[in-house]
Amino acid sequence: MGGEGEGKEGIGSGRQNYRVAIVGNPNCGKTTLFNELTGARQKVGNWPGVTIEKKTGFLNINHNIRAEIIDLPGIYSLSAYSLDERIARDYLLKEKPDAIINIVDASNLERNLFLTTQLLELEIPMVIALNLMDAAEKKNLKIDVDILSSHLHLPVVPVVALKGQGVEATVEAVKEVILGRWHKKNAMVTFGADGEKKLADVQELLKESATRLKLPLRWLAVKLFEGDKEYELLLENKELRDRINEYKEKVVKIVGEDTETIIADYRYGFISGLVKEAVKVTADIRITLSEKIDAVIASRILGIPFFALVIFLMFKISIDFSQPGIDYIDSLFASLIDLINNVLVNLHAPAWISIILVNGVIGGTGTVITFVVPIALVFFFLSFLEDIGYLSRGAFVMDRLMHWMGLPGKAFIPLILGFGCNVPGILATRVMEDEKDRLITILINPFMSCGARLPVYIMIAGAVFAQNVGTVVFSLYAIGIAMAIIVGLVFRKTILKGPSTPFVMELPPYRLPTLKGILMHTWENVWSFIKRAGTLIVAIILLLVIIGYLPVGVTPNSKDSVLGKIGTAIAPVFKPQGFADWKASVALFTGIFAKEAVVGTMAALYGVEEKNSSGNPETKSINGKDTLKERIARDFTPLSAYSFLLFILLYSPCVATMGAIAKEAGLKWAIFSVLFNITVAYIISMAVFQIGTLIQKLL
């Protein structure tokens, strides 16, 4: 009977809710199948105690069976080395889901089945979703699903997640196993007559421990045989540990290999036998389409130019395409503000209400919504590059450079994510094993110019550098990257000395992404931006509007207001940088709360002042955007504007980023990061402005 596994406790209790975990290698189509199974009913959160994303969703199998689907991190094995692997392993063994859907890439069976052979030992009912059947067909592989099924003793369902094929059959198979209608016990890889005898002895020794730790006996024995660090620590009995080690040493002496290799060898041996039987190669293709593409875009000559082109296009398109959207939303909010102002005037509402409501709440919301367009485009691009498989090529092409900075290729992803927002960028350093590598990647992340800084560049560069906005913005991104490299190197050579970690990374074949998958990923990021940053921004703008209005009676946002006094006090500090203007100082001050607040602040300071100086606050001809641009252009020279932009690029990370750094590296490093970055920004802006002024004088 298949009912002995501990994962089946749900049957007897008559429970209607089941938990089903999705497990598979990275890039096997996990996300795609997860989306197909759960539709839009998803919840994104974190694994307890760590910041790795946890996605869950619901699937109604029939009207009285509901399954909660848990998406586990993509992993190659169940060792205890990486955090992702530990999360997956802990979930499977401690939470004991009712079933596992093991997604296996049919076009890459051998390597994917390695994980499967480990999952079999967990004694949890399991279904294999043999995904990417179309890709396997293209490789001229003919896979006999029945042979796989009969050898593994598991239901095996051919799936093309991309087209939704086989999804229903997967659900059906899951239903069969959770209801206990699959009457076969999981197959196990055996480790040779001699090995099995030794393993049986070890299992005998471990019986009590396995019960106490609630772990499957064979699994525990195999893992301890491999020398699994985590489980060794769980055995409190030193004598037991020594006896297991004796067994290990005996085997090592006989075979002449370490136990880890022997076990992996048996697993792959089992897989090779299975694949030989189940898979027919109908025609030999030596070079796949992916390889042909890589021969061009990852080649020695074109690799770097192509990568630079991709990144350049990404930002060029994100900026230029979002401009009409931003303008449209701007004008929409301008008319909304006019409309509400009119209503309020007709109602004879007091002035402070219109200031708080119109300038603060509605103006602030409008500001947040204008960011959504460029940020969505950036994330759209990133998701596309990730799904199609190019991000790993980026890591391949750029690794030497990363290595030269003393960082592993893995650092490339958190840094690239930093372009969207430094907060997920910093959180993504969780995939890095080495503490020093991680710390450096965290500390240089704020130099990667995040999406929130983009609207600031667009507003100021748009006002001052009419024709060259794209180029100016690109140069800022480039300088940010250069600073990250330099600072990373300096840290590696000074405060964070140490060797870097191994770099072993799969280059998955290129795959056509789905629009749905990309859009869902984009939306998740945009939504979390609105939720996390949006409320903060509106709150800050509201606060600014209020302190700009106080003390009662002053001209709002004038030099005499509380806000103006703060700005006036800070301003002289920025004389060497060329923007010793109180409005710029206020904007920098608020920018620490959230980089995008610079836009709101400047809009408030320049926009409202225009209305006041015209002496007629109700004049409808004032188009907020144009006058704003003109006024900004009047206050800045191209040189001082560039110096200001550089300062914004480099200075203190925003509050949310500080929080992320404090969470991942400790408060000490967050404070360090703030002070260090402000110093760097101060020096660089000063150098650029002073040298620029000198050159202008000489010409």
């Binding site: 994980l115 030596r286 990852a298 020695r300 690794d399 799969e506």
Partner: protein, 96 residues
Amino acid sequence: MKISMDQLLPGEKATVLQIYAAGDLRQKLLAMGLLPGVEIELIRVAPLGDPLDFKLRDFHLSMRRSEARNIIVERNNHHGWRGRRKRRHWKWQTKL
């Protein structure tokens, strides 16, 4: 002749003999199926000379020279350049 894996030229195939790596790296290589006896091919070198793109068990794995140095292999064909030309030839054939 035994050489370390980083000494292969693009297009050369070899059989893995020994892995002198420990801990994290060793475990990762084993999970990827890089075991004694498996055949690997060096496909290309990254633009800046490192890392390397290897093919084994029908998938691509990239690693740095410093990691590849820990893996001892034996060449399957002794003519790296000829091997490479053969690959080129194949490319055209599959295209036609």
